[in-house]
Amino acid sequence: MADYKCPSIGASHRAGTSRSSNENTAMDLMNTWNGQSNAEPLSWNVHRFAGTLDRWRRLVGETAAVRRCGPETLLLSENSPARRSYLVEEGVLALSHHLSTGKQVFLTLRSRGQVFGHSRHVLNHSFELSASALTDCVVRMLDSQWLIDQIRGGGDAGVLLMEQHAFDLYESASALIDLIHLDASARLRKFLMQFAAAAGVPSGEEMLVKVPLTDGYLASLLGISPQQFSAVKRKLASEGKVRHIREKQTWIISTGHHQFTETVA
């Protein structure tokens, strides 16, 4: 890391600077959105409002089975029972859509306090989703019909799902606009920041994010070729924004969210 040149971040890292970078955690940022902290959120578009997991736990109780899994575990596929859905307790997962060509299209990340898999039963649709763990994960298995009954019964389940969906809906529109406004290097950096937030990586001038994903997989997430992906990595490294230590599956991100506004020339 000695040769890694971190660009100046003073202007962009406005709040929370009196604390050491390790103290300023992702959860601080999430609390900020709920008015519980003076720290300023970075550009980490991850739905993780404080208390969401606890609220789900109170609803689910201890009866739902817990499953632990490692990276690359496929939790949900087209062959999964339609009524099965999951609550994420720990870790980060990717939701993707499988194409008939065998390729997959990345849709979004799922992390602590979020539910996935329920749309197949709730809407009875055929838009096939798959979910695979990107890190070590702890999930609680839910029956989607139980979710429907909870919503009908009133209370927190409907509120929590609506809040999650509202966030995703707004974010999905933003992601579509990003395709036009941001070049692939900015989108890669944004993805890494989102991943870091989802994984609960402490924020700081430099953030180390362990991302157990191949370059090819990341390239497919960004909709670019592996060759273009290599060029994107080189560009980000030369600009001092992101550096990849392949052997450790680690990315080093320098913060400074103003850089996300860069666009294609």
Binding site: L161, F167, D168, A173, S174, T263
Partner: protein
């Protein structure tokens, strides 16, 4: 007082087509929203009006009944549009959830004259706390809108740009009601804006348009402000209107 929604029509629909816009489906959705008792009085926006600015994203949701709205960020360059996505009748927009970075926010503008309902976040939360079919309807609507957005995002990987342009024009032909000279559909989008919605550059758009002209799928004439699309044996004519100047938020009650 909220009314109970009698049936959940969404749960009886299957197939990938359910995530693409259809007039009948939109009508049914709007009818169900009206039964919920959650909608405000309708608000009308003239073409070009800002429904809300990027800096003032509301926590309430909005439901579009008539017209087309666009999600927009500041244009990247003069050549490149800031419009990244459209919202069609029956769809929800707004409901800023908090927790997003400044550079992820977008403004919403009326591309045509639009009729919009505001749905109070507090009213929705109360309905969800109460439960029943209304609560399930709200959750299903958000989920359905979300899957529609994802289906749209995925389309760029499953379909070629020409097929997506054809699909977009067919959708707009179903939605747009204003007619121009000789019954042409008034198309309130410039080429660079169509390019933005398709996620390609204006240069790429120009190339595929020429290719489609060569294949006789589309024809451009009348100083290139008229566009004809041949699809499924039908010929649909568009007349491009460029009068959609941005104006501050002005809404009027019905």
């Amino acid at each position: 007082m909220m009314n109970e929604i009698p049936t959940m029509t969404l749960s009886s629909q299957t197939g990938p087509g359910v995530f693409f816009w259809r007039k009948e489906s939109a009508r049914s959705t709007l009818w169900q929203w009206k039964q919920s008792g959650l909608l405000s009085a309708p608000q009308w926006y003239p073409a070009g009006a800002s429904i809300f600015a990027r800096s003032a994203a509301p926590r309430d949701a909005f439901l579009l009944e008539r017209g087309v709205v666009a999600f927009e960020r500041d244009p990247v360059t003069r050549e490149k549009s800031g419009i990244g996505a459209l919202c069609l009748p029956g769809n929800l927009f707004g409901h800023y959830p908090g927790g997003l970075a400044d550079d992820s926010l977008h403004s919403v503008i009326a591309l045509t004259r639009c009729m919009v309902y505001r749905i109070s976040r507090e009213k929705m939360l109360a309905a969800l706390q109460k439960g029943g079919e209304t609560a399930l309807f709200i959750v299903c609507q958000y989920l359905h809108n979300l899957l529609c957005a994802r289906a749209r995002a995925t389309e760029s990987s499953t379909k070629g740009t020409k097929a997506r342009l054809e699909h977009l024009l067919l959708e707009l032909a179903s939605v747009l009601e204003d007619r121009g000279p000789a019954g042409c559909i008034k198309l309130p989008l410039k080429d660079k804006e169509l390019a933005g919605i398709l996620g390609i550059s204006p240069q790429q758009f120009s190339v595929i348009k020429k290719e489609m002209e060569g294949e006789k799928v589309i024809a451009c004439f009348g100083q290139r402000n008229k566009l004809a699309l041949r699809s499924g044996g039908a010929k649909i004519q568009f007349f491009k209107v460029y009068g959609c100047k941005r104006i501050p938020s002005i809404a009027s009650s019905a």
